[in-house]
Symmetry: C2
Subunit: 582 residues, 2 copies
């Protein structure tokens, strides 16, 4: 039961002091949620009120089912952008049809997340590496900033999902800038940054929204041609079943998959980041998928659009001292009150104010520091980040993620296809066996004995490389060579292709009158050695726990203790046989 | 110069005895090459003479440029089938157009191989694992056998690239079997198998070809309605530039890429198999690509079709004692003589004889033994082989290879995403630290100290798993725990994502008043530890060469020798700094 409704975990021990903190945090988040929700809906290309609709039931459902106690769910910038970009490529006419499609999209995102959770696919998120996430987020932030330029400048620009087209379009319209809009936006940005720096406790977003409305109302700024949010329908959303047809579902499928994964990724990474700080350990990957999925499904019945955890609001909530998911309920109450009583006020809210809120909140997602870090420390991963960034920026968001993931997997495979292969030797007066190049001054190199270490699993992708390298080292040693010891400590797996190669190689090496020993094989590798042809070719007497023992045996083949033999020959088949005898 | 023309390597030291061996081997291979070439051209859907054309210039060009001295190049069964299946899906009308397309295909295959060689992409072949190759070859062999059924049975069956359709079509025509054709074919098969078993030195293929021609000629078997090869044009092929147009190139691209890679794979694996036996070491992956590519390009100017190394003829050549590529020149002379003087004889050669040659040579490629081996030893790789086999058999050859490669890469990634993570402990009276479960009877487990080993590189795909497992183990130890030692011997890499995770994790662990030590990190891992934030969080005093030293330090923090410290802290930055000082 507690697995399905994680809030049951804390509800029994809930204290009065917790309530006060949750109430305060909930209200603080709610104050930000209202303008942010409207702003993000605008990014998504929706009428602002849908951002408020998406802040009701999805938030409540997550409070019931989610495993993180401190994340704030609702509309977020990145997902809103994904919605806009995804639907931008489809030819949808009219706001009504657009809303319908967005609702279907929310339903699909929810169903995908729910199913992934049920199928326990939460581990998938592990394949989004940090360079991919950062490259992707940085590019998305830039796209969002440019998508808001028209609101900040008060010009009308044809939207495009190609950033360079947007930039060109803005450039052509620079002559038409409405300086009142522009000034309002700049003041908004300045105030937000100022509050953030010097008065952290004041909810800057709320202040500039109120100031904006007041300014428009009293100075009748609309006469200067500035763009306002306009009429926001009053009242709560009603229950409407999304209308599905196969054609739409097909068209929306790629963007729904991307949104489902990105949304999940955001929620889990924000949740984990907060857990890191609190030391709590409640998040369960698959239940999170189910919770987010349910949020989106229920949200789609009430004209919401895809939601996930918001980075900024989660941070605000955490700073305000939230204790449990109950705080989310108070945020929802605030949104309900807004929808019932405050919508008439938003008629006077300038779009430039919402644009300034969006810009300030996303610009910090551009991760220049990480770019620099990777550039100086990891050129290969820098490349992955750059590719992800450029493709996201210039080709598309889903393509960016996809190719980023592909690149990082390829990098991983490439890395293991030519792993580190070194000759090691004994460091005088110790039982250390280390790289003869790194420790050139200390290591004793013998001509009659080649000791090598291979730093990777042995599999089809590198078995040819392994063989080539070993033969090269054998050749370099010349005719004095009598034996070869393979230090297998970092060979953590041997697949069928490599096992075959190794078996044949040992055979060939022995035919050349050279001895071959394996030292330091770990358990799983020993199991493989014993279950394949390797052991028949090698003979178990040539397996050792430590390199030093192999060297001693090479020098004097009698010297091996009972314990050393027992540990060296242990493997799962033997263990099973022993158990059966007992 | 010797890199471009590898034959310069042996030509200077060429001996008279080598010449005799090359002459004999060349003639033996030539005797098989003529009927095989014709038979394989038939598989490819071409008039048999094109198999002879493909046995001229391509073979000569390879002799000049190839790095393997003992492989026999020319038409082969697998590539012929790929040609047939690939072109079968395009709607080509008329033999003339079909030939034109095949020639364009040969040119494209050549260009692709040549470019891959120039771009030094020879390593790509490493990604074809043995289960994929075996699964693919087994399925292809079955497809070839069924494609030859109609010739063996003397029925006419509409060709199809779907094996089940071929089987059904054959089944429907079973009533129309020509028993003379069938008998000839069965006798051919029986003789081939018989010679192979009891009289290895007799060239069985030549014998049954001669017997077939003689029988048809003297007993006028054509009156029984059997199918004959028919008129084979006499004379050498003339130089004709292939006619290219973009539409054809586009259509042929996927099949050309598959053929280029498969052909290369065959050549390199046959070449390496022979090198294994002779101890020679002359094959260079990229030069092989250039050699094969040039062969196919030149071949396409003389109405050839894609060629590569033949498994059966290379084996024959090796058995006959070939020494160098000169033997190939003698084979070519034999083909030239055939084209000039012997073509009239082939008019009387029954198709069933060619079918029996094909069937006997490919049926041994069905690798049931390897299926069984994987089934009992490697269920996961068995699955990869089975998928490759089934997709090749029922969906398509290129799809089979592609999905096979993808599956084996995914398996590799999956394996590294949840690697072996174990607690290790000291085996009494030794400095062995081993898995506490495997060595439950011997290991001393301490409550105040957790020693763990993680058997994989640490990267984005498993960094979350690592953290989860470590925290689980820490929790299980309970409040008595004072320190954690990570045995990093088999962690052969740490990527940026994982380095970040590890840095934060060490910080969190230390905040819980627990100590954290890393023991046994290998050189490349030490470099990463020292070049990322890990070292700042960890402090280098907590790095050790051996697990035992970390344990001793945990028990008594003063005890560390100068040498131990020096080896433990060695890293590339330090080494560079030291070099700069010197």
């Amino acid at each position: 039961m507690k697995n399905i409704f994680p809030f049951l975990d804390w509800i029994s021990s809930y204290k009065k002091t917790d309530f006060v903190k949750d109430l305060l945090a909930g209200i603080t988040v709610g104050i930000v949620l209202v303008p942010q929700g409207m702003a993000y809906a605008m990014i998504a290309g929706l009428p602002p009120v849908h951002g408020l609709y998406a802040s009701l039931f999805p938030v409540l459902v997550y409070a019931l089912l989610g495993t993180s106690r401190k994340i704030a769910v609702g509309p977020v910038a990145m997902d809103s952008l994904l919605v806009a970009v995804g639907l931008g490529t489809l030819a949808i006419t009219g706001v009504e049809n657009y809303i319908k499609m967005v609702v279907v999209l929310a339903l699909m995102v929810g169903v995908i997340q729910f199913l992934l959770g049920v199928l326990r696919m939460g581990f998938l998120v592990n394949f989004l590496s940090k360079p991919v996430i950062s490259g992707f987020t940085s590019a998305a932030a830039i796209i969002i900033v440019f998508s808001q330029m028209k609101h900040l400048l008060g010009i009308s620009v044809v939207g495009s999902n190609r950033i360079y087209k947007t930039v060109i379009n803005i450039f052509y319209k620079l002559g038409e800038i409405n300086y009142v809009d522009f000034s309002i936006g700049l003041v908004g940005i300045a105030l937000l940054l100022g509050f953030k720096k010097w008065a952290k406790n004041i909810p800057g977003i709320l202040v500039i929204v109120v100031l904006g409305i007041v300014a428009v109302y009293f100075f009748q700024l609309e006469t200067y041609g500035i763009k306002l949010v306009g009429n926001v329908p009053s009242g709560l959303p009603s229950f409407i079943m999304p209308t599905l047809n196969i054609e739409d579902v097909k068209q929306l499928a790629p963007i729904a998959i991307a949104l489902a994964l990105v949304g999940y990724l955001e929620a889990i990474s924000i949740g984990k980041a907060i857990e890191d700080k609190t030391g709590e350990d409640t998040i369960k990957a698959n239940q999170e998928l189910i919770a987010l999925g349910s949020s989106n499904i229920v949200g789609s019945f009430f004209q919401g659009y895809p939601v996930t955890a918001s980075f900024s609001r989660s941070a605000i909530s955490f700073d305000a001292g939230t204790k449990t998911n109950l705080s989310a309920v108070f945020s929802v109450i605030l949104v309900v009150l807004t929808l019932l009583f405050l919508t008439p006020l938003f008629k006077f809210l300038p779009n430039a104010i919402l644009a300034s809120i969006i810009m300030v909140s996303v610009v910090k997602l551009i991760d220049i520091k990480y770019f620099k870090y990777l550039w100086s420390n990891r050129k290969d991963e820098f490349f992955v980040m750059l590719v992800t960034f450029l493709i996201t920026l210039f080709i598309g968001i889903t393509q960016g993620i996809l190719i980023g993931v592909l690149c990082s997997l390829l990098l991983m495979v490439y890395r293991t296809s030519k792993p580190h292969f070194v000759e090691i030797g004994n460091i005088g007066n110790s039982d250390y066996y280390k790289n003869v190049i790194r420790f050139a001054d200390e290591v004793v190199v013998r001509n009659d004995l080649l000791i090598v270490r291979f730093d990777s699993q042995l599999y089809f992708g590198n078995s040819a490389y392994f063989k080539k390298q070993l033969l090269k080292h054998i050749k370099a040693k010349g005719p004095a060579l009598k034996g070869i010891i393979l230090n297998a400590e970092s060979i953590n797996y041997i697949d069928a292709t490599a096992a075959d190669m190794l078996t044949k190689l040992i055979h060939d090496i022995r035919e050349r009158e050279l001895q071959f020993y394996i030292a330091g094989a770990i358990g799983p590798t020993r199991d493989i050695i014993f279950s394949t042809g390797i052991i028949k070719e090698l003979q178990r007497e040539f397996l050792f726990v430590k390199t030093k023992e192999a060297v001693d045996f090479f020098d004097d083949p009698n010297e091996i203790s009972l314990l050393a033999a027992k540990v060296a020959y242990e493997n799962s088949r033997m263990a099973k046989a022993k158990r059966n005898i007992n």
